[in-house]
Amino acid sequence: MIETFFGADALGTHAAFLVSLLIGVSFGVALERAGFGSSRKLSGIFYGTDMTVLKVMFTAVITAMLLILYSAAFGLIGFDSLYLMPTVYGAQAVAGILFGIGFVMGGWCPGTAAVGCASGKADAFLFLAGAAAGSILFNELYGVVKPLYSWGESGVQFVYASLGVTRVLFAFIFTAVAIGSFWMAEWVEKKISKTGYYLNSPFLWAFSIVFIAAAGGLLAAADAPAENREALREINAALTQPLMPGRTEQMIMEVMQEGRDHIEPEDLADRLMMGDRLLTLVDIRPKAEYDAFHIRGAVNIEPAGILQLLREKKNAGMIVLYSNGMTHPAQVRDALHRQGYRNVYILTDGLDGFVERCLKPASLRAAPVTDEEVSKIRAWREYFSGK
């Protein structure tokens, strides 16, 4: 497994700056050789005269996607060592539309304008000056646009999970769509500007077959990655051993007290009642105990099945584990943490605490209860125990 600069929290080091500079050079050469140092060529995609942008960008996306997925399947990289940008539906939709308008007006985007400017294009220089001014404008208006900036904030979302298909299947379909769009682009160019040189060429045939085959091979290769088998072994160990070596009950309690990795029963109850879709509640007790009673909305996890469910939720939303007490879920949380899960929480005081603090009738409580709390307890009892 490769340790990335991001994974080692070292993106701010001089070594990372040097690597970034070199990657930037390669990026700039690729853009320039593709013809993206010309605003006329870039704009061609919007008029059907030159579809180079589509061909280059879509090829780059599927190339990188397939290389990343193969690397993940063979345990070379883990998604936890990659920087995954959060999805903010509203902000990104509005930003995309604005960006598209600015792109077609100016004829550039920031990366290509850097290339154009360096090779002497005056319009690229003006575009960059405008973009710098636009960034400053954003900073000045930040107080006003903040609600828009976070509109539709949804954490890290993968499109295949959003659509309910597996990663490799989506990757295959995505590759097929890309190949289809390349043939279409060549056809459009032939119709509109009598170019489309690659339409039906041996090159495009070979290119298409290689990419479809690579995406198809992924379906077979990515079935049971080594990293998951290892993770499963560790989680099984955590579930069956009374205590992990080197980790005492006291240490667990210290982490708890810092409040970094637990959720209070009242908070959990409210989130569940609100129907928080980003929350996954996992009951890690044996199935018989789960069947007897569990918190409404929780799923029961047999150790063997835990990864299938959790892989989809890794670093997306919030995973809450509970058992009767706290020791047991803390061990599972630790095992998951070592696999790169950063969104696993434990229910404070476990199921016992949840019953005691949320479901116990107000009349049986030792401490005095305010009217507001009484109505809250009544609502919880109604929702969670049907009383």
Partner: protein, 166 residues
């Protein structure tokens, strides 16, 4: 054929560059963040106290240029220059259609740039950082952003078509 590289091979070169970035840096390619940090530096030189007190740029600290994407942005320009000189494509020119006024083209480039600069901050990235890098990881927001770029671009293309008329 044309004097540029085969677009599919250029795409593979770009994709491999992106993959190497993920493999080594752990993050993808980016351009607008580097540019925005340069903008923050400029604003910081003009109005240091105001910039450091501002909520967005202020969070980048006293030296916003000390950031990996600033170096990547510089590298991109260097790579572009090397390739343009090697390919005999370097030279000062304002690209536009023959029948279109240079002043109008300059105004469009500047205005388009301003909109893109603003939109890149709003969407937390541009065609490089969001569409390309996030798209390769199949992140939902990045793909939404990419589709909306094309929607906005195609919707507006007709209005500014004359800048390319010869």
């Amino acid at each position: 054929m044309n004097r540029y590289m085969n677009p599919y091979l250029a795409g593979i070169m770009l994709g491999v560059t992106l993959f190497v970035s993920y493999l080594v840096l752990g993050s993808g390619l980016g351009a607008s963040a580097g540019l925005a940090r340069i903008a923050a530096c400029i604003e910081g030189c003009v109005a240091p106290l105001h910039t450091q007190a501002s909520e967005y740029f202020g969070a980048w600290g006293k030296n916003p240029l000390s950031y990996y994407l600033v170096f990547m942005f510089a590298g991109t320009a260097i790579g572009g220059l090397i390739s343009a000189v090697a390919g005999g494509r370097a030279g000062v020119v304002l690209e536009k259609g023959k029948r279109f006024s240079a002043w109008k083209r300059a105004a469009l480039a500047l205005t388009g740039g301003a909109i893109v600069g603003f939109a890149s901050r709003l969407g937390q990235g541009c065609t490089s950082g969001q569409a390309l890098s996030g798209g390769a990881l199949l992140l939902t927001g990045s793909l939404v952003f990419m589709m909306c770029i094309f929607a906005g671009g195609y919707a507006f293309a007709y209005i500014v078509r004359r800048q390319w008329h010869d």
